[in-house]
């Protein structure tokens, strides 16, 4: 057994309520580590041969909640959520912060694999090795804050009754879905702690399709034994010292970017990316700090950065709205992208999105898409059931967000996500609407544009990524570039927060890995072999796709049309993505990743990585 792992996983079939403990060979854990890497391996082994036919909302799909060996040890605890994505029809490793992963390991499990589908709404309550499938009809339909409140109370009472002499019971850690997940909205999240979410991938909808409202876990054991806990603690000290000395994320989180990414780098979505520059000082971080932040440092297990800040509106018509920060992504997507530039309106919409269990990034993208169609009179007031979807009208966007979460009226169509909604509406209106859909392979583009060339992604970053528009996993050349998804897979597989690695030497994470697991790993070995293997598996499943949509690299390894329109304003006015350069860069990336000119992994590449079965399965795509 490898150090740092609890050594077993829970597998729960909700159709027949079968619960069992399973193990993975050390070789698999050595190669795929945990989280995103292991999820990719499990999904390929179990579903790969029938991937195209697997309905993401069917009982055959799996919902994976996986920790990694570094979860709980490395500063900043997270858990990785995965499965067949109802957005990309591929695999997304979507991580969410909080104590869930730590509690799970302390309960004795490295992860949970959920299959099947319950007949009636249920939630799971795990206390160490006791696993219960419990009725959740009383919380079905409840929003995030109500769900957390009711389940925290219920589980603490259960613990108190069962263990009356223990003393006071702390809360269990809870992952849950909101109404959007229950209604299988493709932009629904798996959430924690009111405001934290595994957004990319749409796994809230997968959880909803299984009628699984929540999972609460209380582990009373220690974290698994580490190979060298003293060394791990020294490295933790080293990381913390660095973080404490660095003010940016600690002081403002990503909250200073809502102004800066627009004003300085011209790469912030504005009115559905019609522009990327603004100079709205009303959206400055000082305004958030001075007007709405009520808790300046908020963090999760072991985190020195605490980039979160709790925000609350105290006066006016949005009084009582509570959320975190909002962070940059939500400042952009539920702010500038909708023509909104005040902290109060931004907090109001973010709070609502949290409550409904929607992804702020992808729902913000969807709302912006709908508003541009309204602006262009493609979607009329009648189509929107009387709603005038004007830029800057937070209340109108709130009405539409609710319709989406509950699939009411036009919301039912939009609940399919920007890409699918664009296809359907385009058919209805008999025109191409995909040109207004700022997404890649079913996943909305994160709030970092590529036209100005001043932000961190490259022009091929979204088009060539195995996780589409996900801004936390981007394609970069060369493959070992520090921003590259081949590097990021390590954070998502060892499962900890990548926000605690800024400024520290790159090899430190592998020293940490060795201190916890006892295993030696180098950046070179990771990039050239293990991570590359994960990438090829993700690429294969993405291209196999189905059942509703399949991606063709020739068509879909491409930027949203919008990114070829020149920037309309700001210091980088006129800049755009050069098509010829994009083609060249893509060619270079394909070659480096071991893909043919058609974008499909080469036989030689796959065989070298020991993925002969993948080679066989994708032969038909070549």
């Amino acid at each position: 057994m490898i150090f740092g792992y609890a050594g077993k996983f829970l597998e729960i079939n909700l159709s027949n309520e079968n619960v069992e403990e399973i193990k993975f060979d050390d070789d698999i854990l050595r190669d795929y580590i945990g989280g995103r890497g292991l999820a990719t391996k499990i999904l390929w082994d179990r579903l790969g041969s029938k991937w195209e036919k697997v309905d993401p909302f069917g009982p055959e799909n799996m919902l994976l909640l996986l920790t990694g060996p570094l979860t709980g040890f490395f500063p900043g605890g997270r858990i990785c959520v995965s499965g067949k994505s109802p957005q990309s029809n591929g695999v997304v490793g979507s991580t969410v912060a909080g104590e869930f992963g730590v509690e799970l390991k302390c309960a004795g499990y490295d992860g949970i694999i959920i299959t099947g589908e319950a007949e009636k709404p249920v939630y799971l309550f795990i206390k160490d090795s006791d696993v219960e499938i419990r009725n959740a009809s009383h919380v079905w339909g409840k929003d995030a804050k109500q769900t957390v409140k009711l389940l925290t109370k219920e589980c603490r009472e259960l613990l108190k009754t069962r263990f009356p002499n223990y003393g006071e019971w702390k809360e269990p850690s809870i992952l849950y879905i909101g109404p959007a997940g229950e209604n299988k909205v493709r932009t629904a999240v798996v959430a924690a702690k009111w405001t934290h979410a595994a957004g990319y991938g749409g796994y809230g909808a997968v959880m909803g399709s299984k009628k699984l409202k929540a999972i609460a876990v209380k582990g009373t054991g220690p974290l698994p034994e580490a190979a060298d806990i003293k060394k791990a603690e020294q490295l933790t000290q080293r990381i913390c010292k660095d973080v404490y000395a660095n003010d940016l994320w600690r002081r403002w989180g990503t909250g200073s970017a809502g102004y800066v990414v627009g004003a300085k780098t011209s790469s912030e979505p504005i009115r559905n990316w019609q522009e990327e520059w603004h100079d709205e000082e009303s959206f400055g971080v000082d305004k958030f700090e001075n007007r709405v932040w009520i808790k300046p440092y908020w963090g999760d297990f072991g985190c020195p950065t605490t980039c979160l800040k709790i925000a609350m509106v105290k006066t006016g018509k949005f009084k009582g709205a509570i959320t975190d920060n909002p962070d940059y992504e939500l400042q952009a997507y539920l702010g500038s992208n909708l023509g909104i530039f005040t902290p109060e309106e931004n907090v109001f919409l973010s709070s609502l999105i949290d409550d409904l269990g929607l992804c702020g990034i992808q729902t913000g993208n969807l709302l912006g898409f709908a508003a541009e169609l309204f602006q262009k009179r493609i979607l009329t007031k009648e189509n929107l059931e009387g709603l005038e979807l004007k830029w800057g009208d937070a209340e109108a966007f709130a009405v539409l967000a609710r319709k989406i979460a509950f699939r009411e009226g036009i919301g039912d169509l939009l609940a399919e996500g920007t890409y699918r909604a664009a296809l359907k509406l385009g058919e209805m209106k008999n025109t191409d609407l995909l040109r207004y859909a700022v997404q890649c392979k079913g996943i909305s583009i994160g709030a970092h544009g590529i036209r100005s060339g001043k932000d961190y992604p490259e022009i091929i970053s979204y088009a060539c990524s195995v996780q589409g528009g996900d801004h936390t996993s981007i394609a970069c050349y060369p493959l070992n570039d520090s921003r590259s998804e081949l590097v990021m897979t390590f954070h998502d597989s060892a499962v900890y927060c990548s926000f605690n690695i800024f400024g520290i030497p790159r090899k430190l994470k592998f020293e940490f890995y060795k201190a916890v697991t006892g295993l030696k790993l180098t950046q070179k070995e990771w990039i050239n072999t293990k991570s590359l293997r994960i990438l090829q598996l993700q690429r294969a499943m993405l291209l196999l796709g189905g059942p509703d949509i399949k991606w063709n690299p020739k068509i879909h390894d491409e930027n949203p049309t919008r990114f070829y329109e020149p920037l309309l304003s700001g210091p980088y006015k006129g800049k755009t993505v050069d098509k010829a350069r994009f083609k060249e860069d893509k060619k270079k990336y394909y070659k480096a990743a071991g893909w043919g000119k058609n974008g499909i992994p080469k036989s030689k590449t796959l065989k070298k990585l020991g993925l002969e079965d993948v080679d066989e399965a994708i032969e038909k795509l070549r």
Binding site: G72, F73, E99, V102, C106, K145, V148, K149, T152, R156, P164, N165, Y166, G167, E168, K170, E171, K193, W194, T195, G219, T220, G221, P222, L223, E225, I229, E233, C240, Y244, I294, K295, Y297, W298, G299, D300, F301, G302, C303, P304, T306, I310, M312, K314, G320, I322
Partner: protein, 175 residues
């Protein structure tokens, strides 16, 4: 700085707690040589998101826990003024939990004895880590004749108070 000879008290300012739980990590490493949140003598409660706070012995001068112990497993360490637990003598009856106004002691999750903060023999690790991070929720001050027992409140009561302070009128709704 306080000297070893002078008993100290851990002053606490709950509303500043970020919820980083580093206090739980260092406490359990010090006492158990493992990262073990439930075996930590200081536990961060989060009954409502945003209302995290550390729950640990208030070191009150009355020591009702010591008095309640039927086996004399609890005693006062006169050097530090902390409560010492004799793990051999403790029978895990839980009387000290009921005697504590804050229901602060809790059982060791795998062994049959109670866990109460022992101030790490006068050099509390939780305070150190909280100060290093600049959170300053915990601070070591010299022990004086003050009503420390007011800080012995149950997690539910502390949560209720923090809810009002942080979320105002809305606070009640989340309890």
């Amino acid at each position: 700085m306080t000297t070893e000879k002078e008993p100290t008290w851990i002053a606490r300012e709950f509303s500043k707690c970020s919820g980083c739980r580093k206090c739980e990590i260092v406490c359990s490493l010090f006492h158990e040589n493992r990262i073990w949140p439930e075996a930590s003598r200081i536990r961060v409660f989060m009954l409502v998101p945003g209302l995290e706070f550390p729950h640990l012995c208030a070191q009150c001068q009355e020591y009702p826990c010591v008095e309640s112990c039927p086996t004399e497993a609890l005693s006062i360490n006169h050097k530090t003024a902390a409560v010492s637990v004799d793990e051999e003598k403790c029978i895990g009856c839980g009387k000290c939990i009921d005697a504590c106004p804050g229901r602060i002691p809790h059982m060791h999750p795998t062994k049959n004895y109670i866990l109460i903060c022992d101030l790490c023999n006068g050099n509390p690790q939780c305070v150190k880590v909280c100060q290093e991070g600049g959170w300053n929720v915990l601070k070591l001050v010299s022990r004086k004749d003050r009503p420390y027992k007011l800080y012995a409140r149950t997690p539910d009561v502390v949560t209720r108070d923090l809810a009002v302070k942080i979320y105002g009128e809305l606070g009640e709704e989340f309890l």
